[in-house]
Every structure is written in structure tokens, then in C-alpha cells.
């Protein structure tokens, strides 16, 4: 195709009408399955699985709004995390759609909405808040023993949100958002003036802090909320700015090994469209590129693993991003209007499908990927 790649990306969904609409049909190896939390139009909340052809495969009714989802390495079980300040994490058997375990927050703790299975599938790690002191913690749950809470690690910061393990399976990278909350005041951010977010590397076996990265002082109100890790342990960071709205700080960062965190900005006109808010971040399967959603601005931006801005794609209220190598896609993006768009490997929109009545929440997982790695 002779169309300039970036120009094509900017066409956004409008490009669909002009461009060749690739069918989302599976390739025989099984259709790409997607897993995410969603709400319906009547106030119901679910963990839902669909396939890219529009098949509605599973609905698990949840007691409240869900947020993040993690799957175990064998992709047999999913953990669905209540939205913060949450009191439940449910374990769902993906073959039967049955809830096998209902984990309740222990006294004095609430869940922050994200977690990870260890690579051997034996433990589930959850970001939590010890709300009396405001210190962030990581709860450790034993998958082989009815998800009993067996350990607790310090998160080495306030307000841990998304967490990811490095390839060694024992180094946990934690997005400590820096915002203190209390379950008595469900959505109030109580320490915006004094917040100190950080990206912490923690040894899971000992709970010891290995590294900590903070945004420079001037940007201490950049809440580090969502992260993803590439196969070679690069960490992509998506942030939300809690400071004055007329400022447009960098909202995206990349960090690798022992190097400092590098803050990234898109070109000015694009940067403003992010509305100081990034919702989720996902590397592609090879770890060469990552995508960041900015649902308030209705855009998804693409970046190279080296930190170069590659382009953007427009989709209203788009937030969830799954990585997939199946069916010629790079990413799959979901939105609050039920839309699911496949982004192909040249970062062009391949197809867009609407699941009527599905208000997809902030995060999406494409099941054939290795998100549990």
C-alpha cells in the first residue's frame, strides 16, 4: 500500500470507510478472544469474554464495577479485580465461566484494581492499600490453597495501582500512583499537594526495594498509574496529571534496567489532546512498540520501545488495549460505547465492531497473548 503510514493512522476510524476493511475472521487457529470488565446500560457490572467476530462467549456478573483482569500462564483462570477502593477479587475458570473463588479484602486493606499471577501460577499478587497508615502493600495469595492470603510486601510507595513481573518472575514492578485514598471517602484524593509517586522494583521473595524512580520534583503530581513490561524488561509508563490543567507535562515514560525513567511528550498539538490523562498502556507482542490510551481526549498514541512518537489513532472514549499477534493485529482497543477495534501491524485500523450495550471499562486483555508472562 502506498498510503503513508502515519497519515493513515491519523485518518482514524474515518479511514475505515476509505481503506480496505480487513475481515476480523479467525485464521482457523481459533478466533482472537478478548477479556475485559464492562457495564451494561442498566447498572450491571460484568467480566465478559468475546471474540473479535462478535461472539459473546462469557458473562460473569460482578458485585460491583470491575477494573483490571489478570490470567494465569496457562490461561485457564482469570482474576478480576474490583475497581478501587475495592473489596473483592474473583477467580473465574475460563473454560466453564464459573467463579471458583471469591477473595475478600482483609481487615484494614482494600484492593486497588490490579494484580498479577506469578509465572508458575501458584500465587496471585494484588495491589492494596493499608488505609489507616496510607502505605501501599502487595497482598500475596496462594492459588493452591483457596487463595489464602499468605504474605504481604510493602509497595514502597503510596497508592500502588498496576503491577507487572519482569521476565525473571521474581522482580515486581509497581506503579505507586502516589495518591492517598480512604474507603470512607471513596473517590476523594486526599494528598494532591504532597503526592510523591514512584515506579518501584521490588524483590517478591524478600519484599526488598531494588530500585525506585520518581518524576522530577516539578512534576510530582504526575500519578504513575499504569505500566506494561516488554519481553526484554522495558517498562512503559502511562500517567495522569493531578496539577493545574493549563500545564501539559509529559504523561508517558519509558524505563529500562538501571537507567533513569525518561519522560516522553508527543508533539504539542497531540500532547494537548491527551487531556492530561492516560488510561492504559500495552506493549505489542514483540515489545517493539507500545500503545497508550487517553480516553478523555479520545485518542490512542503509539510509541517505539525506544521512546519515539509514532502516531495516533482516534476512537471516542477508548481505553482498554490488548496486545495480540493473532490475525495480523498488533493491538485491540475497546471503548465505552461497546466498540472494539483491531489495529494491524502497520498501526492502521483493520476493523471495528460494536458490542451493543457493552460499556467496556478501562482495561482489555487479548487472550492468546502472553499477558501473564
Amino acid at each position: 500500500m502506498a498510503i503513508d503510514r502515519r497519515a493513515f493512522i491519523r485518518l482514524g476510524l474515518g479511514g475505515l470507510l476509505l481503506g480496505p476493511a480487513m475481515a476480523m475472521a479467525g485464521t482457523g487457529a481459533g478466533r482472537q478472544r478478548l477479556l475485559g470488565c464492562r457495564s451494561d446500560d442498566r447498572g450491571g457490572h460484568f467480566l465478559s469474554m468475546v471474540d473479535v467476530d462478535g461472539g459473546r462467549l462469557m458473562d460473569v456478573a460482578l458485585p460491583g464495577r470491575g477494573h483490571g483482569v489478570a490470567v494465569d500462564p496457562m490461561q485457564r483462570r482469570a482474576a478480576v479485580f474490583a475497581r478501587r477502593p475495592g473489596t473483592f477479587v474473583w477467580i473465574v475458570d475460563l473454560a466453564s465461566g464459573q467463579v471458583s473463588h471469591r477473595i475478600a479484602a482483609v481487615s484494614g486493606r482494600h484492593f486497588y484494581g490490579h494484580g498479577q499471577f506469578t509465572p508458575d501460577g501458584t500465587r496471585l499478587l494484588c495491589s492494596e492499600n493499608a488505609y489507616a497508615s496510607g502505605e501501599g502493600v502487595i497482598g500475596v495469595y496462594d492459588a493452591g490453597n483457596s487463595y489464602r492470603r499468605t504474605d504481604e510486601l510493602p509497595s514502597h510507595g503510596v497508592g500502588p495501582h498496576e503491577i507487572r513481573l519482569l521476565a525473571d518472575g521474581n522482580t515486581l514492578v509497581i506503579a505507586n500512583g502516589g495518591i492517598r485514598t480512604h474507603p470512607d471517602l471513596p473517590r476523594v484524593k486526599s494528598n494532591l499537594a504532597g503526592m510523591r509517586p514512584n515506579l518501584a522494583y521490588v524483590d517478591v521473595a524478600s519484599g526488598r526495594l531494588l530500585q525506585r524512580h520518581e518524576p522530577e520534583e516539578q512534576w510530582h503530581q504526575l500519578s504513575i498509574r499504569h505500566i506494561d513490561v516488554s519481553p526484554d524488561d522495558r517498562v512503559a509508563v502511562a500517567m495522569q496529571f493531578e496539577g493545574r490543567p493549563e500545564l501539559f507535562p509529559p504523561l508517558i515514560a519509558i524505563q529500562h534496567g538501571k537507567q533513569p525513567m525518561r519522560l516522553l511528550s508527543a508533539p504539542d498539538a497531540v500532547q494537548r489532546r491527551l487531556r492530561n490523562y492516560c488510561g492504559s498502556v500495552t506493549f505489542d507482542a514483540e515489545g517493539l512498540r507500545f500503545a497508550v490510551s487517553s480516553p478523555r481526549g479520545g485518542v490512542v498514541t503509539f510509541w517505539s520501545a525506544g521512546g519515539d512518537y509514532l502516531g495516533l489513532y482516534e476512537q471516542a472514549d477508548a481505553c482498554g488495549i490488548g496486545r495480540t499477534a493473532a490475525d495480523g493485529y498488533g493491538f485491540v482497543v475497546s471503548d465505552g460505547n461497546g466498540g472494539v477495534a483491531g489495529i494491524d501491524r502497520v498501526l492502521a485500523v483493520s476493523d471495528h465492531r460494536v458490542f451493543a450495550g457493552y460499556r467496556w471499562d478501562n482495561h482489555l486483555l487479548a487472550l492468546s497473548d502472553l499477558q501473564g508472562r
Binding site: H67, R83, R84, G113, H161, H182, P183, D184, L185, P186, R187, V188, K189, S190, N191, L192, A193, G194, R225, Q240, G243, R244, P245, E246, L247, F248, R272, Y277, G279, P295, R296, D317, C319, G336, R359, N362
Partner: protein, 342 residues
């Protein structure tokens, strides 16, 4: 013929200027005076708190309670402005935490009064729960039946200073510094990072009015009214301890009316729905004036309760006039609150 041309020109001209929205004037004549008044009343409260705690007396307590009411009602007169610096640093929650469905104010206040940190020299209320930082906590300390003792005084003085500082901070963020908010507010245009055009900002103001009426109808009135006379829950009324429930609503409505007159009435130039909106504000005020009991008692009194319910219905009609008729007449979108994220 010439007359008709002149008339048509005049009409065209008036149409062209009809959507003028002088946001500089809205800021100068409505927003800034509102916040300056809040800053003055909280400064008075701060003085009264320090005076009482330095030398407690019945007279000083009465003065402090009056200072509380003045500052609280000044806050109620600013509550309808739901954008900009009042939202920085969670200020709006720190001023007042209401409704407090989970009882955070009482619980967190109790914990803090038992906390030795309260008596340390470096005590910083800004580091404590949002629930203890503002009017909601102070009301309990001042109207509890027993006058504040030395421990409570620590907190009363800290809250008063916090309220004063936040009010000063809002005035400062609006009007001074490298990037005063008024610069963006006064000139909505392409390139303005906060408001790309006048309609967007006007929609934001309309949304603020609508939200305030919604709060009065569904929280301030509905919560104490509950489902019937037998079920009335007077202690759910905002400000029931200081008997400021109805004065607060009067301040809310007065402020909404003033913003409407400053921002939207000139655009309508007496055309529909301006007369209906004016009549609706007047009707609500007249009903409010007939209420002669504190809101907490009125909901349990058959006659007064009927008036509270009537006020609720009248405000719903006013809300409809703004959301539907005014929005349509001026081509404004109320906007929606995008899904709150994480």
C-alpha cells in the same frame, strides 16, 4: 423602507452580538467577588477562632459560632462554581464533606482528637483526612453542646486557618501568578488549552448551575425528607447542628440566580425562556421564605414538610427550564461527565 432596513440591520446586529458572553465580566462581577467574599468570611472565622481559643468565654464562643455561619454560608454561595481552582488539590471536598454517607467525619474526627500528633508543634491538618479539614468537622466541634476545650481548640484553629488558606489560594489561582485561571476563563478561543470556544465554557457554566440544583433536589432536600412524614430523617439535613440547612439552600439559589443573570440573561434579552426562569427563581425563593423552622425540623412537621416538598418540585421545574429550554435557546450542550477513570 429605510426604516425596515434599519430595523433589519439592528436585528442582524443584535443577533450577531447575542452570543456575546462577556466572560471577563462574569469573572469580575460574579466569580471573583464570590471568592473574595469567601476569603473575607474565612479570615473573620480564623480571627474569631484564635480569639476564642486564646481566651475562651461565652461571648467569644458566640462570636466564633457566628463566624462559622458567615463563612459556611459564603462557601454555600460559592458551591455552584464547579470548575477551576476550587477543584485544585481536592479543595472542594476539603471545604466541606457532605453528604457523608459513610460517617467519615465523625469517625475521623474522633480518631484525630485521640491522636497525640494533634498536640505536637508540627501538626499539619493538610496531611490529615479530608473529612476533618473543613466545615463539616468544625461544625461538630462548635455546636456539640459543650464548648471546645483545649484539645478541640487545636483543631478549630487549624481548620479555620486551613479554610482561610484555601479561600486565599482560590483567589490567588484565579487572579495572580504566571498563569492565572482568569486568563483562560476570560478568553475562550482556539489555542486556549482549557476552553476552545465560548459555547464550551458557557456549557460548563450551565452544567454548574444544573449540578447545583440537582444537589439541592436529590441530596439537600431528598435526604432529610426521605420517603414520608413518618420516615423523615432530620439529622440527614446539611448543617443541622448549626441550623444552617435552609440558609445554605437560600445562598445556593441566590448564587445560581446571580450567575444566571450575569451569564445567560443578557443572551436571552428578555425572550423565552427568560421570563419563565425568572418566575421560577422567584417562586422558589418565596416558598423558601415561608419555611420558618430549621430544615431538620421542617421535614417532620406536616405543614412545613409540604412546603419542603413543594420547593423540591419547584426546583425540579427550574432545573428542567435550564437543562432543556435554556440549553436549546442558546444552542448549548450541558455536556456530560465522562466516565470517571482510574
Amino acid at each position: 423602507m429605510l426604516n425596515r432596513i434599519i430595523l433589519m440591520l439592528a436585528l442582524l446586529l443584535s443577533y450577531a452580538t447575542a452570543r456575546a458572553y462577556d466572560f471577563q465580566a462574569i469573572a469580575d462581577r460574579h466569580v471573583l467577588p464570590t471568592y473574595r467574599s469567601l476569603a473575607e468570611r474565612t479570615a473573620e472565622l480564623d480571627l474569631a477562632a484564635r480569639a476564642y481559643c486564646a481566651r475562651p468565654s461565652d461571648l467569644a464562643l458566640a462570636h466564633l459560632q457566628a463566624g462559622y455561619r458567615g463563612a459556611f454560608l459564603a462557601w454555600q454561595g460559592a458551591q455552584h462554581l464547579r470548575f477551576g481552582p476550587v477543584q485544585y488539590l481536592s479543595r472542594e471536598y476539603r471545604f466541606e464533606l457532605w453528604p457523608d454517607e459513610r460517617g467519615a467525619v465523625g469517625r475521623h474526627l474522633g480518631q484525630l482528637l485521640d491522636d497525640p500528633a494533634l498536640l505536637q508543634a508540627d501538626f499539619d491538618i493538610g496531611q490529615k483526612s479530608v473529612a476533618v479539614q473543613g466545615f463539616s468537622a468544625m461544625e461538630r466541634l462548635l455546636f456539640a453542646g459543650t464548648p471546645p476545650d483545649t484539645t478541640a481548640c487545636r483543631l478549630v484553629v487549624a481548620i479555620a486557618a486551613n479554610l482561610r488558606d484555601m479561600a486565599d489560594g482560590i483567589v490567588g489561582d484565579w487572579s495572580t501568578g504566571d498563569t492565572p485561571y482568569i486568563r483562560y476563563f476570560a478568553d475562550p478561543a482556539p489555542g486556549n488549552p482549557l476552553f476552545a470556544n465560548k459555547a464550551e465554557l458557557a456549557g460548563r457554566l450551565l452544567n454548574s448551575l444544573h449540578t447545583e440544583l440537582e444537589l439541592i433536589i436529590t441530596q439537600k432536600l431528598a435526604r432529610p425528607l426521605d420517603k414520608g412524614l413518618e420516615k423523615a430523617r432530620g439529622k440527614r439535613a446539611e448543617g443541622w447542628r448549626s441550623q444552617t440547612g435552609l440558609p445554605a439552600i437560600a445562598a445556593n439559589l441566590g448564587a445560581c440566580h446571580a450567575l444566571y443573570r450575569q451569564a445567560f440573561a443578557p443572551e436571552l434579552a428578555d425572550a423565552s425562556p427568560h421570563p419563565q426562569i425568572e418566575a421560577a427563581f422567584a417562586q422558589a425563593r418565596s416558598t423558601l421564605e415561608k419555611l420558618h423552622m430549621p430544615l431538620a425540623d421542617a421535614v417532620s412537621d406536616p405543614d412545613q414538610r409540604a412546603l419542603v416538598e413543594q420547593l423540591q418540585a419547584e426546583l425540579s421545574a427550574l432545573k428542567q427550564l435550564l437543562a432543556r429550554d435554556l440549553a436549546a435557546a442558546l444552542g448549548l450542550s450541558l455536556g456530560f461527565n465522562s466516565l470517571d477513570g482510574d
